[in-house]
C-alpha cells in the first residue's frame, strides 16, 4: 500500500516536471505574443554562418530591431529530413536545394523560395559531389552504368545529378537501377559493395574520396541547375517579409565574412565530439568555404532553374505534378525593399 502511494506520488511529481520541461524546451508552440514574427530555424550544427550567428546572438539582435525573434529548433540531417517539421510549422525558414524543395512543393505548396545561391564555377574550388566507384570497378564512364545499381538520395541532389548525367551520356534511364538511400545509408552500402556506384553529396563526398573511391563525373561537369536555396513558410513571408529579409541579410554578411576568415566558422560550439572536424576534413571545409557564393534574392530568371529540375524529375516519374515557378518563388526584394513598406503592411 505504502509502495503504491509512493509510486503515485513519484508519478505525479514526474508529470508536473514533464509539464515544466515540455513548455520550457518545446517553447516553439508559444509564439511571442503574436505581435512580432518568430523565425523558427533548425539547429545550425557546429559550423557555418548560422552556427556562428547562433553563438554570437547576431540574429536575435538584428531581428529585435524589426520586432521579430528567432527560435532555434532541433537538428535535421537534410531538407528532406526536415519536411515533417516544416509541415507542422516547427521550422519556418530553412535552407536546402531546389531538388528536394520541388518534391515538397508538389505535395504541399505552403513554402516559397526567397533566396538562391549561384553554383560555384571556379575550377580551383574543391568539388562537393561526384559519382563514385571503387578503383577496381569496370565502370569507366557514365555509359558503363547501364545494367548497374547506383545509390542516390531520393528526390534530391543525387538523383537529379544522376538523371542529368544519364541524359547527357545518352543512357536510357530505365537501364540503370536507382537505389534510394540517404547519404549515411549510401556510405555503408557503397563501402560494403552492395551497390556498383553512388552519387555522393555534401559531407559524404570527401569522406568516400579519402577512402580511395574513383570519381566518374562531378555535378560541375554537367548543366547543374539545382541551386542551393533558402525557403520560408508562406504565412511568414506574407506577414513578416522584413524579418525574412533580416535573416537573408545576416546570412549574406556572414557568408561574406566566412569567405575571408573561414577558420572562425568551423567548430563554432565544440572542438571535440562527433560534430567537430579536424585534420583533412577541416582543411576541406575551409577550402570549400573560401569559394562559397553569397546567397542572393531570387529573380524571375530563377524560374528557369526550377523548371529544369522539376521538368527532369517529372520526365522520369520522380514527381507526379507540375510546378509553376511563379507559384514557388517569392520576390523578397520587391516586397520588403524598404523597411517602411514592410511596416505598413
Amino acid at each position: 500500500m505504502r509502495v503504491a502511494v509512493a509510486i503515485l506520488a513519484i508519478s505525479l511529481a514526474g508529470l508536473t516536471a514533464a509539464c515544466g520541461t515540455s513548455s520550457a524546451a518545446g517553447g516553439g508552440s508559444s509564439s511571442s505574443g503574436g505581435t512580432g514574427a518568430v523565425l523558427k530555424l533548425q539547429d545550425p550544427g557546429n559550423a557555418g554562418p548560422l552556427a556562428y550567428a547562433k553563438r554570437e546572438g547576431i540574429l536575435e539582435k538584428r531581428l529585435k530591431a524589426v520586432g521579430a525573434s528567432v527560435e532555434w529548433g532541433g537538428s535535421y540531417a537534410s531538407f528532406t529530413a526536415a519536411i515533417d517539421a516544416v509541415h507542422s510549422g516547427s521550422v519556418n525558414v530553412l535552407a536546402g536545394a531546389i531538388s528536394p524543395a520541388v518534391g515538397y512543393l508538389a505535395n504541399s505548396p505552403d513554402i516559397k523560395i526567397f533566396s538562391v545561391t549561384d553554383p560555384i564555377t571556379d575550377p580551383a574550388a574543391p568539388q562537393t559531389d561526384g559519382l563514385v566507384v571503387w578503383p577496381d570497378s569496370p565502370i569507366k564512364s557514365v555509359k558503363d552504368l547501364a545494367g548497374k545499381q547506383v545509390a542516390v538520395n531520393k528526390g534530391g541532389k543525387g538523383e537529379y545529378l544522376l538523371l542529368l548525367a544519364l541524359e547527357k551520356a545518352g543512357v536510357p534511364v530505365d537501364q540503370v537501377k536507382r537505389v534510394y538511400l540517404n547519404p549515411d545509408q549510401g556510405a555503408s552500402a557503397f563501402a560494403t559493395r552492395k551497390v556498383d556506384a553512388w552519387w555522393a553529396i555534401v559531407r559524404a563526398y570527401p569522406e568516400v574520396v579519402a577512402k580511395g573511391a574513383r570519381v566518374i563525373v562531378h555535378g560541375r561537369d554537367l548543366n547543374d541547375q539545382d541551386l542551393t536555396i533558402a525557403a520560408a513558410r508562406d504565412e511568414l513571408l506574407d506577414k513578416h517579409p522584413e524579418a525574412v529579409r533580416v535573416y537573408l541579410d545576416v546570412l549574406r554578411e556572414l557568408t561574406e565574412e566566412a569567405k575571408k576568415t573561414p577558420e572562425k566558422f568551423e567548430n563554432v560550439f565544440l572542438d571535440q565530439g562527433p560534430t567537430a572536424v579536424t585534420g583533412a576534413r577541416l582543411a576541406q571545409d575551409i577550402a570549400t568555404a573560401r569559394y562559397a557564393n553569397i546567397p542572393r534574392y531570387v529573380t524571375k530568371d530563377d524560374g528557369v532553374n526550377i523548371e529544369q529540375v522539376a521538368g527532369l524529375f517529372r520526365k522520369y516519374g520522380v514527381l507526379s505534378g507540375a510546378i509553376d515557378p511563379a507559384d514557388v518563388l517569392f520576390d523578397l526584394k520587391a516586397v520588403a525593399g524598404s523597411p517602411s513598406a514592410a511596416a505598413s503592411r
Partner: protein, 323 residues
C-alpha cells in the same frame, strides 16, 4: 466434506499411488490442498507420516531450499561471455582482421567516449534521454498498468479495454510517428508521447497476464476479509502480479530505447538517440559503436535496477520460485 478428505489422507496407499486420479474431482481438490500436512503433492505428506520403509519406490524429496551459488563463480560466468566478445573485438581490430570502416577499434571508441565526456555532452545527452524515457515510461507504463489491472480484474474492464489494446499492440508504434508529429509537433511532447505509447503496450499485456494468473484462492480469502475495490487491487492483486509487472517494466524500458532513437531523430539537439543520428550524419563509426555500447550498458543498468526492485519488493519470492 472434510470428513471425506480426512479419510483420504488417512488412506495413504490409495492417494499416493494414484495421485492424479484422486486429485482431479472438482471441489475436493482445494479442500485437500488446504489440509495441513497434506501439501500440494500428496506423496510428501504420506512419506512423513508413514515413513519411507512402509512404501516401496518412494523417497524423501530433496530439499530445494535457497541454495546460493558461490558469488565469485556466479559473477565470473556472468561476465564471461561479454568479456570474450570484447576480447575478440579487441583482437580482431588490433590484428587488422576487422577493417575500421566495418567496426571501429575499441581504442577509437574509447577516445570517442573520452571526447564526449570531456565536452560534457555525454552527461547532457544521457540526462536528456533519461528524462524523456523516464517520463514516457512513467506515463505510458502507468496507463498500461491501470488498464491491465482493470482488464485482469473485471470482466467489464476486459470487454472495454482488451480489444482496443490488442489492436494497438499490432500497430508498430513507429508507424505513428508522422501522425504524432502533426498532432504534437516535433517538440518534447511528441517525444514523450511516442515513448509512452511504446511503453504502455508491453506493460498492459504483461500486467493483464499477471493479474489473470493471480491465485483465485488468495483473492477469495482477501475478499473474505472484506477487501474490495482499490484496496483489493493494491493490497492483493498487484503484489501477486508483481513478477509479471516487473517483467513488463523491463520490456517497457528496453522498448523505450527504440522509442528514443525514433523520437530523437526528429528535431532534437541532445539525447543518446540524437547521438546515433549525429554519428550517421557525420560518418563517425566510432560514435556509432559507442552508441551501441551505451545501449548495452543501459540494458545492464535496467536489468540490475529491476533485479534490485524484485529483491526489495518481493522478499518472499526466493522461497517460492523453482530456482
Amino acid at each position: 466434506m472434510i470428513a471425506v478428505t480426512l479419510e483420504r489422507v488417512h488412506a495413504p496407499d490409495e492417494t499416493a499411488n494414484r495421485p492424479g486420479t484422486e486429485a482431479l474431482p472438482g471441489s475436493e481438490v482445494s479442500e485437500t490442498a488446504t489440509q495441513p500436512g497434506s501439501g500440494a503433492f500428496p506423496g510428501a505428506g504420506v512419506s512423513e507420516r508413514t515413513g519411507p520403509g512402509a512404501l516401496s519406490g518412494l523417497e524423501v524429496p530433496r530439499y530445494l531450499g535457497s541454495r546460493r551459488r558461490p558469488p565469485l563463480l556466479s559473477a565470473g560466468v556472468r561476465i564471461g561471455v561479454p568479456l570474450l566478445l570484447l576480447i575478440a573485438w579487441w583482437y580482431g581490430s588490433s590484428s587488422g582482421r576487422i577493417p575500421p570502416d566495418v567496426l571501429a577499434a575499441p581504442s577509437s571508441v574509447l577516445d570517442a567516449l573520452r571526447e564526449l565526456a570531456a565536452t560534457g555532452q555525454l552527461a547532457e545527452y544521457l540526462l536528456a534521454s533519461a528524462q524523456r524515457a523516464g517520463l514516457g515510461v512513467l506515463v505510458g507504463g502507468g496507463i498500461g498498468l491501470l488498464l491491465g489491472v482493470a482488464a485482469g480484474i473485471s470482466a467489464l474492464g476486459e470487454e472495454l479495454v482488451d480489444p482496443t489494446m490488442q489492436m494497438m499492440r499490432a500497430v508498430p508504434f513507429l508507424a505513428l510517428v508522422p501522425l504524432f508529429i502533426s498532432w504534437f509537433g516535433v517538440g518534447e511532447t511528441f517525444k514523450i508521447v511516442l515513448i509512452a505509447v511504446s511503453a504502455a503496450i508491453p506493460m498492459y499485456a504483461y500486467t493483464y497476464l499477471g493479474v489473470r494468473n493471480v491465485d483465485r484462492k488468495v483473492v477469495e480469502a482477501a475478499r473474505g476479509f472484506g477487501l474490495r475495490g482499490h484496496r483489493l487491487a493494491l493490497g492483493v492483486v498487484i503484489p501477486s502480479a508483481l513478477p509479471s509487472i516487473l517483467m513488463a517494466l523491463r520490456i517497457s524500458l528496453s522498448v523505450s530505447l527504440t522509442g528514443l532513437i525514433a523520437a530523437e531523430q526528429i528535431g532534437a539537439t541532445e539525447g543518446i538517440g540524437y547521438l546515433v543520428t549525429l554519428a550517421q550524419q557525420y560518418f563517425r563509426i566510432d560514435y556509432m559503436v559507442l552508441c551501441i555500447l551505451i545501449y548495452a550498458v543501459l540494458g545492464l543498468v535496467f536489468d540490475a535496477a529491476i533485479r534490485l526492485v524484485e529483491r526489495l519488493a518481493m522478499p518472499w519470492r526466493g522461497h517460492v520460485v523453482a530456482r
